[in-house]
């Protein structure tokens, strides 16, 4: 995965893994202590881990269509921002995969009043994180997830983010 290796920022954590579902527990296991170190509450940690787990599952299922040996990269970094006169700590998580470009118009989270299995992953990701941004970067898919320790959903768009 060449493009993502051009990232010049020093990340707190970088994981390179294959698209095998049995590795999802490895990602969850790595993120837990990191979120604790970054000062997230147990509840916010679970939200972040859940969002990343769902995002990686989506890559495995949809981008790679169940192929087990495809590359996925996960980068985590600390963020800070000033909001309402206070400094808030946050985390930025970047996910890269080499699958075909995602047509974001075909990714609506399904209506939650429908009682049927499936289609919940995207809703969980959006409901757990402050920022969810997809971008096609060359031949890679890049998903950027951001969450702040004291954030409440919907109130984070005005503050400027900067990597610390």
């Amino acid at each position: 995965m060449k493009k993502s290796s051009k990232l010049t920022r020093a990340f707190l954590l970088k994981l390179e893994l294959r698209s095998h579902p049995t590795l999802l527990c490895v990602i969850r296991g790595a993120l837990g202590p990191l979120m604790e170190m970054l000062g997230f509450s147990a509840e916010h940690s679970r939200e972040i881990i859940r969002a990343v787990d769902e995002a990686v599952s989506n890559i495995m299922r949809h981008s790679y269509q169940g192929r087990l040996d495809q590359p996925i990269e996960v980068y985590c970094n600390r963020l800070q921002r000033r909001a309402n006169g206070e400094t808030e700590q946050g985390v930025e998580i970047l996910l890269f995969d080499c699958g075909p470009a995602v047509d974001t118009t075909k990714l609506p989270a399904r209506p939650l009043d429908e009682i049927r299995p499936g289609g919940l992953g995207l809703h969980i990701i959006r409901g757990s994180m402050d920022t969810v941004q997809y971008k096609r970067a060359g031949r890679l898919n890049r998903l950027r997830l951001v969450k702040y320790a004291r954030s409440s959903k919907g109130g984070c768009g005005s503050a400027a983010e900067k990597p610390s």
């Binding site: 509840e43 599952s57 499936g118 919940l120």
Partner: protein, 110 residues
């Protein structure tokens, strides 16, 4: 993840341990449908006491179990949910859809 079943009175209790995610949620689905559809058990209780994490594919398996139980006229209940399991059902707006109990005694009470 491990899953095993036992009978208590007229109910079947499925004891699950470990985490439920994309790698193993089909096993949960299979076990639920076997009890509800194939064996036509009148009450199936899923013991999640030893499950810390459930992802959306696990939730989908629970929804399938619920739908199957409604179709067959049986009861499908959950008990022993962790904070994480409760949260994922809540964010999916499914928390109120399931019969959820704190422990086994409540889950299999008549």
């Amino acid at each position: 993840m491990n899953i095993s079943s036992r009978r208590v009175d007229k109910a079947t209790i499925l004891d699950v341990s470990g985490n439920i995610d994309m790698s193993n949620s089909p096993e949960v689905r299979k076990a639920l449908l076997r009890e509800i559809r194939d064996k036509a058990v009148t009450r199936v209780a899923l013991n999640l006491t030893a499950v810390e994490y459930i992802d959306s594919s696990g939730v989908a398996s629970l929804v399938e179990g619920l739908k199957a139980s409604r179709e067959s006229g049986s009861r499908f209940v959950l008990f022993g949910l962790s904070d994480s399991a409760r949260e994922v059902l809540k964010i999916s707006r499914l928390l109120k859809l399931f019969e959820i109990y704190d422990d086994e005694t409540q889950a299999i009470a008549p």
